[in-house]
Amino acid sequence: MYLSKVSLCLFLLLFIISAPALADRPVSWGDVSDEEWEMMSFPDDDEATAIILMDYGESYFDNRLNTVFRQHRRIKILDPDESSHTEVRMRVYRENRSQELRELRAHTLNRDENGEVHRERVRGSEIQTERDGEWEVTSFAFPDVRPGSIIEYSFMIRYRQSFSIPSWWFQHDQPIVHSEYRVLVPEILQYRVFPDGFETFDVNEAEQIAGHAGMAANVLNVNSNSYYRMVLKDAPAIRSEPFITTVRNYRNRVEFQITAYKDRRGATRYMLRTWDEVARSYSGMHYFGRQLRSNRTIRNTVNEVTDGLSDPLEIAMKLYDHVAESIVWNNSLSATANNHLTDVMDENVGNSAEKALLLTNMLRTANLDANPVLIASRDFGKLRWNYPQINQFNHVIVKLTIDDTVYMLDPILPAIPFGLLNPRSLNYAGFLITENDSRMISVDSQVASVTQVTGIVELDAEGNLEGQVQLRHSGYAGIVHRSSIKESDRDEYLINRVFDGDPDIRIVESSFENVDNPREILQTTLTIERPNHAVVAGDMMYVNPYLLNRITSNPFRNPVRNFPIEFPFGFESLYSVTITIPDGYEIDYLPEQQLFRFSDNTSYLVQTMPMGQMVQITSRLIRSDVFLEAEEYHDLRTYYDELVNLHEEQIVLRKTDESLQESVTETGSEGE
């Protein structure tokens, strides 16, 4: 009996040890294979300055339920001067000893012609560790790096009882041969796994096992653990391109979020399994929902600021201005507050969440319907909605509803007026937190960059032009132009920015309206002169109808594109000019009327209307598309090429027969 039990145990033990899930670690310190030495390039990537041969990570829990994270990296350096991987800088959060960096070791390996490997260690004295506020920074440089060198480092970070499992990126700015992440979770904790990316994982396993060599599993004598293993091999580098949000959206990664834990009595407590639970968690959070409770300081401020106002929209605008202008943003984007709102008001400094929550609180105190919206900034990555992940938010904005009209508010900077979002916050969607109806909402710019130009000008027989031009900038165009006006001399702004550095334009008179009222339309009225505007050649006169806002070059010159093309907001440019042509001339050729389309939302319309001695040209350029697939790039490039072409069209005037005769007569009389 006893013997068979023992043998049964032994048998089971053997079985467990030899189970496929307990494979050895894929890398061991300093043990470099011949292939790794010989590898000096990566297929289809002639830009690589380094190749990540191995990126191996492990996360598990020790017997105090601290998360232990280990990483081991081995990199082949192709170009020591250009590669940033030859220097390492790491930060851990030291407040309350939340994170600790330990067991750091690093060395450079070089192999000579005889096949002998020479090792240069990074000495402890060469590693600098410094406190930086609440963080601790560790940095060092790899010695003896030559083209073909292999650098290797490994370290451990202990996260004190935070239940957070670090996320893992499988792709970087250089190609990777082997990226692997293993996570061991004790039975008393449950996590949901969020893999993401375009490359298919070579290995993506999840199973229940007893333990794993090297990864401690003796937590509360539990036998069963969840074991996750993910591997991506030969992953190409993902590098940035213009007109995208962030490369983070295109690199493979995995994230873990805790969904349940077993309490002392063995009962399972669930958390954050649904978006509802996330909403409730934020609502009850001290540094989020609880900050929305009204208090006396806020009430007093609201009363002071909105004294005498009764219209809800006016009140909202006043409160918005107050928060945007009087609280300095400390350049920190955050989804939660770090301080009490009363402290924020005292010190006049706040992070982005504190400002948004303060505004929400003030609007509610003024009896307005306002709710916070959790978002991810554009450069932080697109939000994923399949599962409730909370680490993806890094900013808060405010949704205000007055009589069925919705206003999205982003009080970070005073330059952004009420109703417009900072372009950084335009990332398609957000999570609205309300009492009982929290949900995903779309967050996009209701407002575009809009410029409207109207001109009434006259040409004389020598081709000189003069007249009046009025510009109206609203939406994002208003913000951009106001900022340009404030940065320089007004005349220089007009010539260099509005007229694109035109050397022949003369500003005779100019007046500006609403430069300091960002909510109103920025209006510029000009009297201009442009000598020799039209080219006189023989009996003909060639007139460019576009005095400004001409598309002179294609922003998409490069023939190659990998990623979708993304713009934060739409663009609209309306242009209308009425030109009085000189006596003795008539219209010979007018640009064709046409509608040139790229898509339903992006098109160019030009219309011409002759009216006796005058001609009116109207054009409307609209780009409302904010997201285009990479496959559409070629067509987009061609569309802009054609726009450049269309903007070169000229009006051709010809001397009338009478005036030709007159000049003949004149010449005749001159000859006398």
């Binding site: 002639d46 830009e47 170009d79 020591p80 001067d81 250009e82 030859t86 220097e87 800088r89 240069e120 060469e126 410094e130 406190r131 930086d132 506020g133 920074v137 940095s139 440089a141 790899f142 010695p143 003896d144 790096v145 030559r146 202008e325 009087s326 609280i327 300095v328 400390n330 008001m345 005292d346 010190e347 006049n348 400094v349 005073p414 005349d491 220089e492 010539i495 260099n496 694109d500 550095g501 035109d502 050397p503 022949d504 080219v535 050649a537 003909m540 060639y542 002179t552 070059s553 010159r557 490069n558 023939p559 190659v560 010979d588 050729y589 802009y640 090429d641 450049v644 072409n645 051709v652």
Partner: protein, 642 residues
């Protein structure tokens, strides 16, 4: 001693008196209120320095203590940065006793700050992987303008070369009262240089065995800077101060002359350029067979460029002492000091006399001048005096040719040092002709407006540095860089070639382009701008009365020569006129040459800019020159059928 009630009482009284003293030293409400500021100081300013008093107690070389007291009224949101306090320190200085307060516009105190409110951070410069500069920060902001901040702190110095400079005024700030008071033992001597100050000399008084020097500024309105005017360095007032002797990390030195300071540097670096036997062998190997010192310099420089990389490290005796040559070789990386030192060591082993030199690189900071010994160096280079010429080497560049020091190091004094001390030597000045961009192109125009173009461009000096970096790029990034660089639209690049000279600061780009639309076809005419690629844009506005000198700092020489083959059946109808603009600071010429036989039109454009400082009266001339160029650059040629 028994602790009696009396003793306690006495202590309490003492404490009370201390705080009473402090209150006395504090500000009166009426003095702070904005109504106490003269109007002329408020106009146009973002902030007014009400009081900026620095009391520097200079005890001896390497030991000083400064008490700072600042009161600044911030008038609007543009002046807000004055409330963003950053107090830097490192292993040779310490900042303590920080205290502050915020007052509203009526002078009412709103908030108080104590030493523990300051955050202690690493002062990461974004580049240096190892550095020991730290900073204590405080955020003094208020919700409504204007408001006033008051800040006091103490700095203890345990090692320094220069004394702290006095810089009472910054951009867009006016000063009501500012004072720099240095007290020192009467037998010590300090040398100083006041710049943009009304009087150079301080008020000097004696008080027992102490000597006091005081500089003051009162009621100074904000300083304006006109476009193309002098750099802020040359407009704002400041005073540089240094002692004769200094002490840094138990190393003493003298600033009495450049020779002396150089001697200190030499002592600091002495013996550190010894290379290992292995490196010695390496030197012998790579220089074998070469006699001409230029060749030897070249191979050693190439060795360092290929075998080491630049890593920014700001440590060690305030960043002055170099790493040993052996260590640098072992690491295969180093900062500018280490790489300079290694090259110096290797040149010595090869029998070539060379010296390290301190230099101030870049366009900011205090300029090194022979008349005032002062440490403002931020970089080192190698100086090699040969029989026929001198060769300077910038060791941190991985691809410069030997002898090219880069525009950031040109035309300034460097402090060369050896066992005899230090000497100021001027680095090469790159003239406009050295910074050239010479272009030759042949363009075949078609009747439909399209064109094919073969363009060869050669770059030199400051113009070539950017192109030399292109040669390192792989084909993908190179393509992108070239497409972005060419200002045409609607073209395809059929062929391209980029190269850089081994020994000269020169590089080139050769291109073959297919331009789908270059000339505009209107009826039976073709219009085109013969100036295909050069583009000087940007207009200078008129000003009423210019008071400041005009600094034309650009230095380059561009020539573009385009030969256009006119399409069959067309002749030239209109040509722009030839233009010459000739001023002391610049030369611009356009020339059109027609060759009927070959059916070509050659367009030649020359633009030369010569660095010069012009008196304000010549602003009109300057403006005309700058504004005319884009006009001539966009002139059109008209071809007509027949």
């Amino acid at each position: 001693m028994k602790i009696t009630l009396r003793a306690i009482f006495a202590v309490l009284i003492l404490l009370l008196l201390q705080s009473f003293e402090r209150a006395e030293a504090g500000i009166k409400k009426d003095d702070i209120a904005i109504t106490a500021i003269p109007l002329q100081l408020i106009l146009g300013a973002d902030a007014v320095v009400r009081e900026d008093v620095r009391l520097l107690e200079y005890q001896r070389p390497g030991r000083a203590r400064m008490e700072v007291r600042k009161v600044i009224t911030i008038l609007n949101s543009s002046g807000r940065d004055h409330g963003d306090i950053s107090l830097f320190y490192n292993q040779f200085s310490d900042v303590s006793r920080i205290s502050g307060a915020i007052y509203d516009s009526s002078g009412e105190q709103i908030r108080r700050f104590r030493n523990r409110d300051a955050e202690d951070r690493q002062a990461f410069d974004g580049i240096s992987i190892i550095q020991d500069s730290r900073v204590k920060t405080l955020e003094m902001f208020h919700s409504s303008y204007p408001y006033t901040i008051e800040l006091e702190y103490r700095v203890d110095y345990t090692g320094f070369i220069n004394l702290p400079a006095f810089m009472p005024q910054s951009q867009n700030t006016s000063v009501q009262y500012s004072r720099y008071e240095i007290s020192m033992p009467a037998d010590q001597n300090l040398d100083y240089k006041a710049i943009n100050f009304e009087q150079n000399d301080p008020e000097i008084t004696r008080d027992g065995n102490l000597k006091k020097m005081v500089w003051e500024i009162r009621n100074a309105p904000k300083v304006k800077r006109e476009r193309f005017g002098p750099a802020w360095n040359n407009l704002l007032p400041y005073v540089l101060v240094r002692s004769d002797d200094f002490n840094m990390d138990r190393n003493t030195g003298s600033l009495r002359s450049w020779e002396d300071f150089g001697m200190w540097m030499h002592d600091l670096w002495d013996g550190r350029n010894e290379i290992s036997d292995e490196t010695r062998q390496e030197v012998a190997f790579i220089t074998e067979g070469y006699e001409d010192p230029h060749d030897i310099i070249r191979v050693i420089y190439r060795y360092i460029q290929n075998h080491t990389r630049y890593v920014s490290i700001q440590l060690g005796i305030g960043g002055f002492q170099t790493e040993t040559a052996e260590q640098t070789q072992r690491n295969r990386y180093g900062d500018c000091k280490a790489l300079t030192n290694l090259m110096h060591g290797m040149l010595t082993a090869a029998g070539i006399e060379s010296y390290p030199a301190l230099i101030r690189s870049g366009s900011r900071g205090v300029v090194t001048s022979p008349d005032f010994v002062f440490n403002s160096f931020n970089h080192t280079v190698v100086f090699i005096p040969l029989e026929q010429d001198t060769v300077w080497v910038e060791t941190t560049s991985s691809n410069f040719p030997p002898g090219y020091i880069g525009s950031g190091n040109a035309n300034r004094y460097a402090l060369v040092f050896n066992e005899n001390g230090g000497t100021l030597v001027k680095t090469p000045d790159y003239k406009p002709r050295d910074n050239f961009q010479l272009r030759e192109a042949t363009v075949h125009l078609q009747a439909d407006g399209s064109a094919t173009a073969g363009i060869q461009t050669r770059y030199g000096g400051a113009r070539h540095e950017r192109i030399r970096n292109f040669t390192r790029l792989a084909s993908g990034p190179l393509n992108r860089a070239l497409y972005d660089d060419i200002s045409l639209s609607r073209f395809e690049m059929n062929n391209h070639e980029v190269g850089a000279a081994l020994l000269e600061p020169e590089a080139w780009i050769n291109l073959d382009l297919d331009i789908s639309s270059y000339a505009r076809s209107m009826g039976n005419r073709l219009f085109f701008n013969p100036n295909m690629l050069a583009s000087n844009r940007g207009q200078v506005a008129e000003t009423q009365e210019r008071t400041q000198a005009i600094h034309q700092n650009n230095s380059y020489y561009d020539v573009d020569e385009f030969t256009y083959h006119i399409p069959e059946g067309y002749r030239i109808e209109t040509l722009p006129g030839n233009v010459i603009l000739d001023e002391s600071f610049g030369y611009f010429e356009t020339e059109y040459i027609v060759d009927e036989d070959s059916g070509t039109l050659t367009f030649r454009r020359t633009l030369k800019l010569i660095p010069e400082i012009l008196p304000p009266e010549e602003f009109g001339t300057f403006r005309n020159f700058v504004n005319s160029i884009p006009r001539h650059d966009s002139a059109q040629v008209v071809l007509v059928k027949g």
